[in-house]
Symmetry: C2
Subunit: 170 residues, 2 copies
DNA sequence: TGTTGATTGACAGTATACTGACGATCTAGG
DNA sequence: CCTAGATCGTCAGTATACTGTCAATCAACA
């Protein structure tokens, strides 16, 4: 079979490209999140970090980055901002002077509890234009795709491994 | 009906949230794009801008931002970098001294032609883990969702309107 | 014609993201 | 004990993104 002839260069090809659609959908998702949560002054990234610290109290920054699949470099400034807002604390670990353990403050636990309804509204709004059955289909396929492509990103998600340092049954 | 009891705060709720999945998939998509295209030193955004300038020669920056749904502020630096690499030219418009018209250089047209196979490989790799039928389903739903949520982002896509200034039939 | 209002490109400020590197520190092996 | 390698937080550099603002310019209307 001869090689395919080169397709003409059109914007429609861009609009239909997976990469373009993922970028666009991410922009929209962030925009909706910020709108629903503007009373709390928390970004999606900061929210995810708070949830992870709540779920894994005493986690260190490197393991946190694995749990939420954020870059270690990026996470540094996210943690700084959360600390500046008084939502988390960093304490040096006595048994390893390299790491700092992360904990929610009372203020952090409170805002996390209070923001949840707004976050749920935001998540619902992102999918609202689709029929309920289509929402399930889309989410199912996305979960699959993200999982199967996990290793393709710089910081693959390591949800389970990250717990080992806490001495829980691994 | 009484209000639903508050769900426990878990990472699984984050992992299943649309916003989280869109962010994750975007990270993965950019990573795959950069890997396939690293010989060309072009980002996904820069690639989309080149395609749009190729498709709409003589477009100005504001209209370009509408055609690819990028923020006007962000686009300024993207254009600067493309110009610094010698891929585009900016010429002042004689009939409106506010705007600068964008054109591909020969070098820009050449790299656009050459990079396309790599871009297509990247787009294919993003969906590769899914079965062919599921790829179509996912893309179909995403196209719908992005279109129906178009107004939710700061810079809604205006593919058609943006052509009017060129004197083509609107 | 003269002023109001809109548009354009640009800028400052903030927040993700990634690459690559660094010193401090810990761990393992000899 | 002591060094080689790994890991931790951090930093510099680059690139998207968004908010808000500004001067220059244009368009439309009184």
């Amino acid at each position: 079979m001869p090689s395919k002839p080169a397709a003409p260069i059109t914007m429609d090809a861009v609009y239909a490209a997976p990469g373009y659609l993922f970028r666009r959908m991410q922009q929209i998702a962030v925009s909706i999140f910020m709108e629903e949560c503007k009373a709390f002054d928390l970004t999606p990234v900061q929210y995810a970090a708070l949830v992870a610290i709540h779920t894994h109290p005493g986690i260190d920054a490197t393991r946190l980055s694995a749990v939420i699949a954020f870059d270690r470099s990026t996470l540094g400034s996210v943690i700084e901002r959360l600390q500046a807002k008084g939502y988390i604390e960093r304490k040096p670990a006595p048994e390893d002077r390299r790491i700092k353990l992360l904990h929610l403050t009372k203020s952090g636990a409170a805002i996390l509890r209070d923001i949840i309804p707004a976050v749920e509204r935001a998540q619902a709004r992102m999918l609202e234009p689709l029929k309920p059955a289509d929402r399930k289909t889309l989410m199912g396929l996305l979960v699959q795709l993200v999982d199967l492509n996990n290793e393709a990103s710089r910081v693959p998600l390591r949800a389970e491994d990250a717990l080992e340092h806490l001495g829980k049954a691994g």
